[in-house]
Symmetry: C2
Subunit: 189 residues, 2 copies
């Protein structure tokens, strides 16, 4: 009397990701996902514990993709060039995925799992260690990540309303970080 599976967890997560990618987190309903994979909504609970768990799986996938993107960006060997490349890669990823990027930092979701998060920040830590030295690597990575995520979030939210050139503001900050994080004559941590 067994009934054959009519979908898979992978297909469920992919359908969810596609919905978030196109329409954002609020459009991610169990009904929509069920329609997409050809099943009724209650059946999804055989694959994921609840909607929150599904959101988390999507967030993990986004974090992994971002990590790969940043890895590819930062490989020149020159720490300052790598920092610029990391910053650009981060921003371009957010712009390419404006609806799913917020899953990484939004307070409404739990965010990605620790493993996926580690994956996403690996390249940042590596470059910051090269740039600022091992003692300040974590501080520098946190400063860079906080700034970049804040900037991109504000940009996506349309929060830069005071005129001026947002592109220049980005470049201004990148250059301050590229020279400031590597300058050990600055105040010690």
């Amino acid at each position: 009397m067994p009934a054959p599976p009519r979908t898979t967890t992978t297909a469920v997560v992919e359908a969810a990701r596609a919905i978030v990618e196109r329409e954002g987190l609020e459009a991610l309903t169990m009904q929509r996902v069920a329609d997409q994979v050809g099943v009724r909504a209650p059946s999804l609970y055989k694959r994921v514990r609840d909607r929150a768990a599904l959101v988390r799986l999507v967030a993990d996938q986004v974090a992994l993709e971002l990590g790969e993107r940043l890895d590819r960006a930062a490989g020149s060997g020159d720490p300052q060039a790598d920092l610029r490349a990391l910053a650009s890669g981060f921003r371009e990823f957010a712009r390419a995925h404006p609806k799913s990027y917020p899953l990484l930092f939004d307070p409404r979701s739990t965010g990605p799992s620790p493993e996926a998060r580690d994956r996403a920040v690996a390249a940042v830590l590596r470059v910051c260690a090269d740039l600022a030295g091992p003692d300040d690597a974590l501080h520098a990575a946190r400063m860079l990540t906080a700034w970049a995520s804040g900037f991109v979030s504000m940009e996506l939210a349309g929060a830069f309303q005071l005129g001026g050139d947002v592109e220049q503001a980005w470049g201004y900050a990148v250059e301050r970080l590229a020279s400031g994080l590597g300058d050990s004559s600055r105040p010690a941590s």
Copy 2:
């Protein structure tokens, strides 16, 4: 045949704010607000257009309070000391209002109105003009705001999982900003 008002817009917004303050945005339902002000849910639509408009009114109030807080913080006349005070004031405000602070930047709400937003950033612009000069004031303010909001959002979301001293990471970045934003020998914008 007129019926006397049984509540006011002010009371509705205050009730909404109290709910967000205690339990966060997702707990803000029209039913909860209606119960709080002693009215049935449909009556709220005589005061606000819809839930989104109510969220916006709450966000405006939070932005105004933050603006007042930052104004009080930055009044020493010494630009570097003012920047440190702004940063501390911002972070303390977020910690004092961890559930309502996210309304200012969350992508799920429209955020505060332009007027309320201007009010909140006035002190930041003033200090950044003192520190970085008129040409770089806006760039510097955007760097500072992006970093601070990113840091605080990550902190509230529990995103700093890699160990290390988060307090030190905050101080490290504040000092880099205090010296870096005011240093015109750095790369020009």
